[in-house]
Symmetry: C2
Subunit: 235 residues, 2 copies
């Protein structure tokens, strides 16, 4: 058994990607502090999934920070007056394409979440943050690209005591260049139970997925290509 | 009268610096959206001051976002088990000195606040954020330095739709190299009523300042040097 002494903050949404990222951080020997957000998302299924995933992984601690990004509006994921699109699914998985930004985009979400991870990491004296961003399936999200993560890391090292003192912080984004099937294969090898995770934009409180939204399409296809049984419960 | 059409998000704490920054943003012709945080600070005086300052300035809108940074602990400003130091006042105002980090430091505070300002600016289509950070009196805070602000701006332009599309965002920190008396002189010329503002770390709910903490010392001295009557109410 690996020695788990180095603390890391891991952003955990309850989705497939962050569950895999957590498994990778655990496997790398970090003592993991999982951080989730109650940010006004319409579905409670995501947070319930995050709790189950954190428990199954055996994290050191799991915190859910309430922050009402819905107050700002501007996204179908938090603005209750905008319908979640069912027909937005794009075949384009070119990571360099940022021409079309999906309307499911939450304003500055990753920046806000990483900033709060940075705050907790500072208190924990953790020098590592893990985030499950992915530039392949989410090519339309500017804050899911490698150059964004690098810029955040640079900023973070100028922002904090430890960074200024030369004890540099690393933002790990181990999924950034993986396809969904590669992510699923990697997680399955690490024992991730994807039946606990929720990816659906319109998931029921029970965790059952709609099977129709972009996120469901991408996820389903990932299991097919990875040749791994899809444990997802569809409504 | 100047035309006020360009929106800007202005971080407003209720202190002397952010009130001055807001006045500068208004004077530059921006339509200002003031953003304050209820972040578990021990004193309610700050937020009451922010409301008064926002109203007096005639902002377009003032939002107070609740976010419990106190959950993470690690600072005298939010951790109710740590006493606010009375004797920490340092004469050193060398902006390059980051050797001693005051224990009143809140983990990643400016990063968290700027990130949330970024989220709101994106919804508002604002390309300007104003923040009252100052590297002179707060030389011990890494996230009050110019290189930090620049790194945040670089990151922000990679994080958002507008930045990626070439409509760059600017983080304005107009006070960054000013001394306290210069800030007070500039704000007074713009009609800022500093009697509405609260700088004290241990302010009473009424807004009365202790007159003893670092922040009170720096503020008092600023009025003396600026040769402007100090309108602060001391307990």
């Amino acid at each position: 058994m690996k020695q788990k002494t180095k603390p890391a903050v891991v952003l955990l949404s309850g989705g497939l990607d962050s569950a895999t990222t957590l498994a990778m951080a655990m496997d790398a020997g970090f003592s993991c502090y999982a951080l989730s957000f109650d940010y006004g998302q319409r579905s409670s299924a995501e947070l319930n999934a995050a709790k189950k995933v954190a428990q199954a992984a055996g994290v050191q601690e799991h915190r859910i920070l309430k922050i009402d990004l819905g107050q700002f509006g501007g996204s179908a994921l938090t603005d209750h007056d905008i319908a979640v699109p069912q027909s937005e699914f794009a075949q384009d998985t070119d990571a360099s394409s940022v021409d079309e930004i999906p309307i499911t985009y939450v304003p500055a979400r990753n920046t806000v979440f990483l900033s709060l991870a940075l705050a907790w990491s500072e208190v924990l004296d953790a020098r590592d943050i893990f985030v499950g961003v992915n530039a392949v399936d989410y090519s339309g999200y500017p804050d899911c690209r490698g150059e964004y993560i690098e810029a955040f890391q640079t900023m973070a090292n100028l922002a904090t005591k430890a960074g200024v003192e030369g004890n540099r912080l690393t933002v790990h984004a181990p999924l950034i260049d993986l396809t969904k099937d590669q992510i699923i294969s990697a997680g399955s090898n690490l024992g991730v139970d994807y039946g606990l995770t929720v990816s659906c934009y319109a998931a029921e409180a029970s965790g059952a997925a709609c099977g129709q939204c972009d996120s469901c399409h991408i996820r389903k296809q990932g299991f097919v290509v990875a040749k791994i049984d899809d444990p997802t419960t569809y409504a």
